[in-house]
């Protein structure tokens, strides 16, 4: 096992911080497992050509964070606590977009990582008492909620979702609602029901990264339409609908993931009109629509006149808590029968207790109260990330201006090899979502997504400052004696 350190005197980060940050990153990524003995202060300072005080300060910082511990007379070790929090991500593995989704779920759980990789709400803002505390209030129902639920989902939840949809102008009915394990299962079921391997579907580029995995697994060919600041390129949309006859168009009109773009009312109408004209099914993913920070988004496509054929997907992972794993499909009865048949063989049904918790939360106004509480906080964070980007990003980096959702989409000239920025950031304890995961085939430009939902403005800005530095350094990189990578051999306890 080895420790890798690279000291750059031109860096505006103090040298002891450079040492500390690099060791921290190697602990966090699991490269230095718990029990690893670190070099003595004396030997490491000699190796790096820095003063012993520099190494001492670095070790002190890591010890204060609980990542390492000194045992008198025996040396300094990576702590057990560090191990517990380390993310089990193998950063030595070659970069591959397929690994990103799994990686970022792991990364999220590593306490020392500032993850801007995942579009999730802040767990500290989750209505945890209102959801989990409600289990007690349902005591008289415990027994009824302990058996298999109905395949379609808890009746009370389907009724509550019907009202939720009607609030949004969608003509809904409980018999047209299928509750799913998050919007991801909704998307999986709809896609499998409507396609067979070799078919093509139309999506935006870039789009939700889980969708890329799904299409690949199902061997479905993605056709893509670019996202402009007010929605998809309508000319291109019509060309594709006309010439390629995709099985359906998967669209995220409200605060599109990852661009954050909110489709205008005109574009939504145009999408509906064109898809009706060419007989193409629309699958509308509306999971971000409640997360607006300037004004509510225009009516959903499924709420427009003549939209009966639109399949509407909703979910509560972005608004309430992702750990509920609750989403739903709203569709016409003939489609519903196909979807229910697929859910039956997928996992039979969801957990009735968790579904009922959501039903009660929706029914007694908890959801609306929660959204009123968190919207201003996320608005601030959205603004804070914009400020941070302005302050710390080099001028050649551009970004979207999201009016809702959790995502900024950044682009810049390609100065890193594909995946290199993602990995460099990861090794420095910063999670970002690499653009390669989102379908983008642009080899001249580099893209990445930064999510602000789960981080305070301070934490975001600290991360953006580091990212900005990495990008600047790469842009100005010249080889030299300074900044050489040192390999320091380590022994186990």
């Amino acid at each position: 096992m080895s420790l890798y350190l690279q000291i750059t005197r031109k860096n505006n980060l103090a040298i002891y911080r450079q040492v500390a940050e690099q060791i921290r990153a190697q602990i966090n990524t699991g490269r230095l497992p718990s029990g690893t003995r670190l070099p003595t202060v004396r030997s490491l300072s000699a190796e790096l050509g820095v003063t012993p005080l520099t190494v001492h300060n670095a070790y002190n910082e890591l010890q204060a964070d609980g990542l390492i511990e000194s045992v008198v007379g025996r040396g300094t070790y990576v702590s057990d606590e560090a191990q517990r929090d380390a993310m089990p991500v193998d950063t030595d593995q070659p970069f591959h977009p397929d690994n990103i989704l799994g990686d970022i779920l792991h990364i999220m759980r590593a306490r020392h990582v500032r993850s801007m990789a995942v579009a999730i709400p802040d767990p500290d803002l989750a209505p945890i008492d209102e959801i989990w505390g409600r289990v007690n209030q349902l005591r008289s129902e415990w027994i009824n909620l302990s058996g298999y639920g109905e395949i379609e989902g808890d009746g009370k939840l389907r009724a509550a979702l019907t009202l939720w949809l009607e609030d949004r102008g969608v003509k809904a009915a409980p018999s047209r609602v299928l509750v799913t394990n998050g919007a991801m299962q909704a998307l999986n079921i709809v896609t499998r029901a409507l396609t067979k391997p070799g078919d093509s579907v139309l999506t935006e580029e870039p789009t939700f990264l889980g969708y890329r995995h799904l299409l690949k697994t199902q061997r479905i060919r993605p056709l893509t339409v670019p996202v402009l600041p007010d929605g998809p390129d309508i000319t291109r949309l019509e060309q594709i609908l006309k010439s390629e006859k995709p099985r359906f168009y998967y669209t995220i009109p409200a605060f599109q993931n990852p661009t954050g773009v909110c489709f205008s009312a005109e574009k939504r109408q145009a999408i509906l009109d064109l898809c009706r004209k060419y007989g193409t099914q629309i699958v509308e993913d509306d999971v971000y629509s409640d997360l607006y920070y300037d004004q509510p988004p225009p009516a959903a496509i499924a709420a427009l006149p003549h939209s009966q054929h639109v399949i509407y997907l909703g979910g509560f992972s972005k608004t309430i808590m992702s750990g509920l794993r609750l989403g739903f499909i709203h569709a016409s009865p003939p489609l519903m029968r196909k979807f229910v048949a697929l859910r039956r063989v997928s996992d039979l049904s969801g957990a009735p207790m968790v579904q009922r918790l959501l039903a009660e939360f929706l029914n007694d106004g908890g959801f609306k109260r929660h959204m009123r509480r968190v919207r201003p906080i996320y608005q601030q964070r959205r603004n804070g990330m914009h400020d941070g980007l302005n302050r710390f990003m080099p001028s050649f980096v551009n970004w979207s201006r999201p009016t809702g959702g959790f995502c900024y989409w950044l682009d810049m000239p390609r100065i890193f090899a594909p995946g290199a920025l993602y990995q460099l950031a990861l090794e420095n304890g910063i999670g970002i979502a690499a653009g390669e995961a989102f379908f983008t085939h642009d080899t001249q430009r580099e893209h990445f997504r930064l999510s602000f939902g789960n981080l305070t403005t301070e934490a975001q800005q600290a991360g953006i400052e580091q990212l900005g530095r990495m990008i600047r350094e790469q842009a100005s990189k010249r080889p030299g004696a300074d900044g050489q990578l040192k390999e320091i051999a380590l022994t186990d306890r």
Copy 2:
């Protein structure tokens, strides 16, 4: 809308009970919706040729059960309460095995139906306080359990399942465990990962009815091996492995569903040896193994020497409560990677809170205590069903002698049209699982499954008595004036 009644004077059920039971069945199946006005006592007694007192007594019984209500001066109506409990099953739909799984989940929820159709534990015996009450004890973890979990499942649960597997002699590791939404999702993921449409897999005949749906959805050809009283027909097994090269063998060695057969140690070893010889993957579904009433089953196939390649599926729907929707896969690392990739695109992950509840229940001995408590109760019910069958079934009906699980598998000469017994029973408020759902292609014999887990001995025996009567009546059916089906037209309120 019409009411259908058929009075048989040879029946040993009092005529007023015949009237009441048939009206009850038509309310329960949703044929007579809430608000339907029933005929007056006078007109119905005239129509049927019985005394007004007979109809009066029938109505009294239905009213006592809350199914109908009399409004002074306006008449007698199907009550709102009845509607709430009615099962939304359309028994007018032509019988089709594909509908059975959905039907029986609906039926289960209709309070007035004695369902022997579903192999589930008794909700009244579920450890509901130990599971749902534990939510409070986890208060300090609520926030950590509210986000996306890891795709593979909660770390604590995977550790607990590893111990659970090791208790059973399976060499396990947390990294080889994937938590799923019940064993159904485990089976779905394994099947999809190992096959492509057009492939064939080997299963027992009969087998788990959910599996039939799954194979059909995935367009997979089932090859079948018959189940003898100690396990599959080994000669036939070898012939199929040799000549057909199925992608895998899906087997339920412990208290096989629906036959209740427990495979002997010799048969388990023979299965492993043959599948190794012909290079066929084994998928072992072991969800019933804790439900033994005479002696524990022999070691799982996955616990035998040289069984590293066996994919082991477990779940807690039969032992703890089906509403947790928790099962798991244990498999080798290369297979695990495929399974995790499929779970990722299926629904990303399960609900961490529910997974943690199970982890704690397993870790603190709750599961073992629960099994010690319920095993004697289910043993009694198993015995009670045997007694009931002995007492009430005609001599031409045969049944299996399960040593564990929840199922009796019955067979008799074919005296009903396919599905007719299932529908007749349903209309009389009795749920059974029709043999047609379990792959059985035998046209000379009729099969059906009766489950005893969720019913007291008294309830079972009452249901079996009715079933026995239906079978006897069908066997001795001769046309005659007596017992003619009357159609009585009804009007809405």
